[in-house]
C-alpha cells in the first residue's frame, strides 16, 4: 500500500462526477442487448444451462482453458474466478457452478479485439465443480475445477 493510492482515489472520484453527468441512467441504442437468457439462468441442470447460454451441451475438455479458482473458498458468497482461453477465435465464455440451484452464473460475448479473459467473483452454495465453457469457431470447449466450500469456525 503506497501513497500513490491516495492520488488514485482523488482521480477516480473525478471520473465518477463525469460518469454521473453522462450516465443519467440512459443506455445508448447500441447497448440494448438481446433479451436476458431467462431459460439458461433458470435452468437447474448444467446441460440445460449450457444449451441455453452457448447453444449446446456438448463441449470437449480442453487444457487450453485456464480456470483459476481457490481449492478451498474462504467464503462461498465471494469466490474469485478467472477464466482464460488460449483457443484461437474464442467468441463467448460462460461460467457455471455445477451444484448451485441454477448453475449458470454469467455469460460473456467478446468484442472482436477482446481477449478471452474474464475475472469475477461468484456465489457458491456448496462444494462444487466450477465449469468454464468457451465457444471458439462455433465449437464448445470446457474446463472444470472443484472448489470446496466450508463452514468457518469463528463466525461472528
Amino acid at each position: 500500500m503506497n501513497h500513490n493510492r491516495r492520488v488514485l482515489l482523488k482521480g477516480s472520484l473525478a471520473a465518477g462526477a463525469v460518469g454521473a453527468a453522462v450516465g443519467a441512467g440512459l443506455l445508448t441504442p447500441k447497448a440494448v442487448m438481446a433479451a436476458w437468457a431467462k431459460d439458461a439462468f433458470e435452468a437447474k441442470e448444467v446441460n440445460a444451462a449450457m444449451t441455453g447460454s452457448m447453444g449446446s451441451a456438448e463441449a470437449s475438455a480442453s487444457d487450453k482453458i485456464k480456470l483459476k479458482a481457490p481449492d478451498i473458498a474462504e467464503n462461498g458468497a465471494v469466490v474469485p474466478i478467472t477464466v482464460t482461453s488460449s483457443i484461437d477465435g474464442t467468441t463467448h465464455m460462460s461460467i457455471l457452478v455445477a451444484e448451485n440451484n441454477t448453475p449458470l452464473t454469467s455469460t460473456y460475448e467478446l468484442g472482436p479485439t477482446t481477449e478471452a479473459y474474464i475475472s469475477t467473483r461468484v456465489k457458491m452454495g456448496k462444494t462444487s465443480d466450477v465449469i468454464a465453457v468457451v465457444k471458439a469457431g462455433g465449437k464448445l470447449y470446457s474446463a472444470k475445477k472443484e472448489v470446496k466450500v466450508t463452514i468457518g469456525g469463528c463466525g461472528g
Partner: protein
C-alpha cells in the same frame, strides 16, 4: 555496578515474565519476538495482513480481492461524509486538521485531561457532537466509512501508540492487557488462547490470526458480514469485532466504546506499534 544491576534485572524478568510491573515496551518486545519465532517465514512488516501473512492459500484469494477491494466503495462514502459541512459551517477537517498527513496511527491515545482512552471512533463522534451534529452509531455504517477514509489517508504511517508516564494511563493499558490474557465466557477462553498461543492453528475451517498486527487494518470489510445480512454492507469497527469474539466464547459482550473495549484496544494497538496502517482491509 551497572552491569550487575542489568544482570539482576534481566534475571528477574526471565523468572517472572508476566510481572505486573512490566513496561509496555517490555511487553511489546516480548510480544513481537514470540510471533517472529512462531512464524519465521513471515516478513516482520507483513503481520499487518493477518491470516494472509501466515497462510498462502487464503492469501491468494485475498490478493484477488485486493485487485479491486470492496472497501473502496466505503472509503468513497467516507470521503463524501468527511467533506460535508456541518450545520454550523464547520467540518471534520476542523477536528482533524492533519488528516492528509495521516492520523490513524496515533489512535488510541490516553487523554490525561479527561483520564480517558480516546479512540478514532470516539474522536469522530466527539467532532460531531461538539459541532451540534448527531453522533453516529458505533459498530456499523457512517462511523466505519469516515474511519475507513481516515485510515486510508493514513496508510503507510506506522502505529505510534503512547502510554504516558501516568498512573491512570498505565491502569488503562494494564486493564486492556488483562482482558487480552483473561479467560472468559462459557468456553472459558482468552483472546490470547486463539490469537497468541494457537495463532496459525485451525478452529474448524478457520485459521486463527496472530494478535500481532490485528488492529492495523481496521475498520474492516468482512466478507462474512457483507454476505450474511441483507442490510449490512460488510463494514465494521474494531469494537464490533471484539463483541463478536466475546460472543463466540459465550461471554457477554461489552458495549462498543465501553471503557473495557477502549482499554483492550489501547493494549492491543500498542502491541502493533511500528507496523503500518493498512485500513480499511478486506477479511474473511
Amino acid at each position: 555496578m551497572n552491569k550487575i544491576a542489568n544482570v539482576l534485572t534481566t534475571a528477574l524478568l526471565v523468572v517472572t515474565p508476566f510481572a505486573a510491573q512490566a513496561t509496555p515496551d517490555e511487553d511489546l518486545k516480548e510480544f513481537r519476538e514470540y510471533f517472529y519465532k512462531k512464524f519465521p517465514d513471515t516478513p516482520k512488516n507483513d503481520f499487518i495482513n493477518g491470516v494472509y501473512s501466515i497462510d498462502p492459500a487464503s492469501r491468494e484469494q485475498w490478493e484477488a480481492f485486493e485487485e479491486f477491494p470492496s472497501y473502496e466503495i466505503f472509503v468513497d462514502k467516507g470521503e463524501e461524509l468527511f467533506n460535508q459541512k456541518f450545520a454550523n459551517g464547520k467540518g471534520f477537517a476542523d477536528c482533524f486538521p492533519n488528516y492528509k498527513k495521516g492520523i490513524r496511527q496515533n489512535y488510541p491515545y490516553f487523554d490525561t485531561g479527561s483520564d480517558k482512552v480516546v479512540t478514532l471512533e470516539g474522536a469522530i463522534n466527539k467532532c460531531l457532537t461538539d459541532n451540534g451534529e448527531k453522533a453516529y452509531k458505533w459498530k456499523t455504517g457512517n462511523i466505519t466509512y469516515v474511519s475507513a477514509y481516515l485510515a486510508y489517508m493514513s496508510r503507510g504511517s506506522k502505529f505510534n501508540i503512547k502510554v504516558p508516564n501516568d498512573a491512570k494511563a498505565m491502569a488503562a493499558y494494564n486493564r486492556g492487557r488483562q482482558h487480552f490474557y483473561a479467560k472468559r465466557g462459557q468456553l472459558n477462553m482468552a483472546c490470547a488462547d486463539c490469537h497468541y498461543h494457537y495463532a496459525g492453528s485451525k478452529i474448524r475451517a478457520d485459521i486463527l490470526s496472530p494478535a500481532l498486527g490485528q488492529p492495523t487494518g481496521f475498520p474492516v470489510y468482512r466478507n462474512k458480514w457483507a454476505s450474511a445480512s441483507v442490510k449490512g454492507d460488510g463494514m465494521g469497527s474494531l469494537h464490533r469485532r471484539y463483541g463478536g469474539c466475546n460472543k463466540q466464547v459465550r461471554a457477554k459482550p461489552f458495549k462498543p466504546q465501553s471503557d473495557e473495549y477502549k482499554a483492550l484496544e489501547y493494549f492491543h494497538t500498542y502491541m502493533s506499534n511500528g507496523l503500518e496502517v493498512n485500513g480499511p482491509s478486506q477479511r474473511k
